[in-house]
């Protein structure tokens, strides 16, 4: 099974409220990623876990949190949602995140709408 599963597929959130998105994979991949995709923009890497080590991009450092309680699961947490967080959130995983030529597998995404 080479799928990455994301729940829920659609999420509605209120401004100022927290949001938690869930991702899982059963491929025993050591690296899991979260990307943000807005209309007419390229997918943007937010953060990734290599094993238990979290790496966050500099410009999203303060905006997103994540946890990885075990190898299979990874969550993306927004403490206080703003309208600008409305986007598609893509979870992905790869077998060896330290190598640039490794294939990255993506989930179908969670579409977050903040109102």
């Amino acid at each position: 099974d080479t799928t990455v599963k994301q729940n829920p597929r659609y999420k509605l959130a209120r401004v100022g409220k927290p949001v938690n998105l869930i991702c899982s994979q059963t491929m025993n991949h050591d690296t899991m990623y979260w990307y943000q995709k807005k209309p007419n923009q390229a997918p943007k890497l937010l953060l990734f876990y290599y094993d238990k080590i979290l790496n966050r991009e500099a410009d999203t450092f303060e905006k997103f949190q994540s946890s990885r309680p075990n190898n299979s699961f990874c969550s993306l947490y927004i403490g206080s949602a703003g309208l600008e967080y409305s986007a598609m959130y893509l979870c992905a995983s790869s077998r060896d995140g330290t190598h640039a030529n490794t294939e990255v597998f993506f989930g179908k995404g969670t579409r977050l709408t903040v109102v």
Partner: protein
């Protein structure tokens, strides 16, 4: 910093015609290049990748791409498209800790 440019936001093509999608990259080191496709209501799927060797690489569903170091390009081609090829195609460069994507090209195939 790395970057990827896909100059065509939308491409319309008739079924059975050939297709070429353009991609140019900017990266200081040896590039690892990918094409991903996103079909409606699906996740991104890898079509093909390149990191060394023959500059023409074959992918799934009859797609191929050609790497050019001199031109900093990695164009995607298909000889004869099918209506099911309608999708958004993303070119990406890998930098060991993630992928940098282009904006994508939306391909519409008409019968």
């Amino acid at each position: 910093a790395q970057s990827v440019t896909q100059p065509d936001a939308r491409v319309t093509v008739s079924e059975g015609a050939s297709l070429q999608l353009r991609c140019k990259y900017s990266y200081s080191a040896t590039p690892y290049l990918f094409w991903y496709v996103q079909y409606p209501r699906q996740g991104l799927q890898m079509l093909l990748k390149y990191y060394s060797g023959d500059p023409v690489v074959q992918g799934v569903n009859g797609f191929e791409a050609e790497f050019s170091k001199s031109d900093s390009s990695f164009h995607l081609r298909k000889a004869s498209v099918h209506w099911s090829d309608s999708a958004v195609y993303f070119c990406a460069v890998s930098y060991a800790q993630g992928l940098t994507f282009g904006l994508g090209t939306r391909v519409s195939v008409f019968p």
